[in-house]
């Protein structure tokens, strides 16, 4: 299971992403292995700026899922952070469950649109003993 210390660490990180300032973002990425940025909501974040991969997409997470996330989630570890639409997070959260991972932190960072889709900053981390680093 994920440790209490890790939950606290990542729980603190999400508001930093929410602020989305470069300094706050830089402090928040520590401990994450990659970031997923939904350009519908977070286009201003620089590419690979803090030495970790930043994966960008426009609502459809298929490509990053197949190329990067699925293979990574078959291994131990791999903490993934992101700022995405709540629709994309729903997809990732559902997939995470099957891989022993869970959303350990989430924070809505903007208003929902007319149909309820809101930008969310989040962290998905391994929680099952079979995948915890």
């Amino acid at each position: 299971m994920i440790s209490r210390r890790e939950v606290i660490k990542w729980g603190a990180a999400a508001p930093a992403f929410a602020a989305c300032s470069h300094a706050a973002f830089a402090s928040g990425v520590q401990g994450c292995d990659a970031f997923l940025l939904d350009q519908r909501f977070a286009a201003q974040v620089p590419q690979n700026h803090w030495g970790i991969p930043v994966m960008r997409f426009d609502g459809d997470v298929t490509g990053h899922w197949y190329q990067t996330i699925d293979p990574a989630w078959r291994q131990r570890g791999y903490v993934l952070g992101g700022i995405t639409g709540s629709d994309a997070l729903f997809v990732l959260e559902t997939l995470a469950q099957q891989h022993g991972r869970r959303v350990v932190s989430r924070s809505q960072v903007g208003a929902a649109d007319a149909r309820g889709i809101a930008p969310v900053s989040w962290i998905i981390a391994p929680v099952h003993p079979s995948v915890v680093a």
Binding site: D58, G59, D60, V61, T62, W65, Y66, D70, G85, S86, D87, A88, F90, V91, T94, L95, Q97, Q98, R102, A114, R115, G116, I117, H128, P129, S130
Partner: protein
């Protein structure tokens, strides 16, 4: 601790302990945070006391562990609910039909056991997802395609068992139709192999489906009779090319002959891809939801005013380019007599796909799993939050022009009367051979009052459709009893025979209680619902 119905807390704890011994402590889940992941996120009972929830979940790694768990469950009368990956959102997800069941999560059984390039077949475990299989075929350099549903995150086995469908060629896109060979753990813990798999040493398990005697594969479709642990499938040899075309006709009266000719051409194998029938003039407000079909003179006037076709038949071809071009030429000859007919074609796609083609095509039509539909859905139609989910209402209707018009009018009229929202409405889906399935996507809410209205309305729609001879081919758990009720010939002989089989093969009623309206003896008469 939530306890299965009729079971004492101590007995259940002892049973879970034995299951832990069988699979390992970390693979038994009984904490709220874990069990939350086994909810049906599109449940029409979300947050209500009646929501169907698991008491625990257990994830075995192999057949022997499945057998051990089933034996414990049988000895202690613990209800199990097997899932493959539990991704069939809109049809129940990971949640059991009987609240309090232990979900038997087969996600760890994710081995591709065999791909036979010459036989164009595979044998897989239930945890193999479409993405897993696609990756396996890509990385092994296979020349075979799989047919995928949309989205493609589910399990080949689970989707086939639920009769899911995809988009490629006939014989593959009806996923149950592509099954060849099943292995299942029965309620007594013994292992059954169907077809040629019952013959030790046979090399034809994925070649000849029937074996000898009654063909038992159907016992496991949408059923509560066994835990499927292996399944064989036919795979589609990668074609050389793909061509998508359409035929536009401009009179209300053209629908019946359009469908008749499409049927003849498909059944005669003149084209092999999935056909479709739509109405551009009736899809002006919402391209994925046909509006009500008006009377002939009204519809013909709409066509004249807009210039839009009354009906469009879309046809898809897979095969050598030379062959599919000739087939398309022949199709045009056959439709030439329709007054004002127009033919449309898109450029031939040569296979394997180029990177440019990969970016522009609808991936599931090429056997490529995708999650794009979730983002498309978010840009969809109607005033609801797509993340709250939806359910599918899916009824089998006659494959004729009259079938489309009757089903369209009844559904549109009754849904309006009941105040039932539809954000997608297609009366003639053709994933499955020789039938139309009417598909209506109904938004679900995280609001009990709205969901109560939704449930009442859908049950009413099921009843109305049944009076026309239209029955659902698949449905969410909340409607399984109502859907099975509609199949009432011979004083519900179908359900009664299913119950007799259930009693014979699973006398303690431990497997998938209530699935598709078949309850074990001790839970009949609404006791389990």
């Amino acid at each position: 601790m939530t306890v299965p119905p009729g079971l004492g807390e101590a007995d259940f704890a002892d049973g879970l302990a034995e299951m832990r011994d069988a699979v390992g402590t970390e693979w038994v889940f009984d904490q709220p945070a874990d069990l939350n992941t086994y909810r049906d996120f599109y449940s029409v009972l979300w947050g209500e006391p009646e929501e169907k929830r698991a008491s625990a979940a257990i994830a075995p790694a192999n057949v022997e562990q499945v057998q051990a768990v089933v034996r414990v469950a049988s000895e202690r009368n613990i209800p199990l609910y097997p899932i493959s990956t539990g991704r069939n959102l809109g049809y129940g997800g990971s949640a059991p039909v009987l609240s309090g069941s232990v979900v038997l999560d087969l996600k760890r059984m994710d081995r591709v056991l065999d791909v036979n390039e010459n036989n164009c077949s595979c044998l897989v475990e239930p945890g193999v997802s479409y993405f897993d299989m696609y990756r396996h075929l890509q990385e092994s350099g296979s020349k075979l395609w799989l047919d995928v549903p949309d989205p493609g995150w589910g399990s080949l086995v689970g989707n086939a068992l639920d009769s899911g469908g995809g988009y490629t060629a006939a014989g593959y896109r009806g996923h149950w139709e592509a099954v060849c060979g099943i292995e299942a753990v029965m309620a007594d813990g013994e292992l059954l192999r169907t077809g040629m798999g019952a013959l030790p040493g046979s090399e034809t398990w994925q070649q000849y489906r029937m074996g000898i005697g009654p063909c038992l594969d159907g016992l496991f479709r949408q059923s509560s009779l066994g835990v499927v642990t292996k399944m064989g499938f036919y795979l589609f040899p990668q074609p050389e090319a793909y061509l998508s075309v359409s035929v536009d006709v401009f009179r209300f009266e053209d629908l019946e002959p359009l469908v008749e000719l499409l049927n003849e051409l498909e059944y005669g194998h003149v084209f092999n891809g999935m056909p479709g029938i739509g109405s551009p003039v009736l899809a002006q407000e919402n391209p994925i939801a046909m509006s009500i079909v008006p009377e002939a003179e009204v519809m013909n006037a709409m066509v004249r005013e807009t210039g839009l076709p009354a009906w469009r038949g879309s046809i898809n071809f897979y095969g050598p380019e030379k062959v599919i071009r000739a087939q398309w030429d022949y199709v045009q000859e056959r439709f030439a007599h329709f007054e004002g007919v127009k033919f449309n074609e898109t450029p031939v796609v040569k296979l394997p796909l180029s990177p440019d083609d990969m970016e522009r095509i609808h991936k599931p039509r090429f056997g490529i799993p995708s999650l794009e539909i979730f983002s498309v859905g978010s840009r969809g139609y109607g005033d609801f939050n797509p993340s709250d989910g939806h359910i599918w209402f899916s009824a089998v209707i006659p494959r004729s022009g009259k079938g489309i018009i009757d089903a369209n009018r009844v559904m549109r009229t009754e849904c309006e009367r009941l105040g039932l929202d539809l954000f997608m409405f297609v009366p003639s889906v053709t994933c499955w051979s020789r039938s139309f399935v009417l598909f209506a996507a109904v938004p679900v809410y995280k609001d009990a009052a709205r969901n109560q209205h939704l449930r009442d309305s859908v049950k009413e729609i099921i009843r109305i459709c049944a009076t026309h001879g239209w029955g659902e081919y698949r449905c969410p758990p909340a409607f399984m009893d109502a859907a099975m009720d509609a199949y009432s010939f011979g004083d519900h002989k179908l359900r009664r025979v299913n119950e007799q089989i259930k009693d014979a093969l699973d006398p303690r009623g431990i497997l998938s209680a209530g699935r598709y309206g078949v309850w074990p003896r001790h839970l009949r008469d609404g006791g389990g619902a």
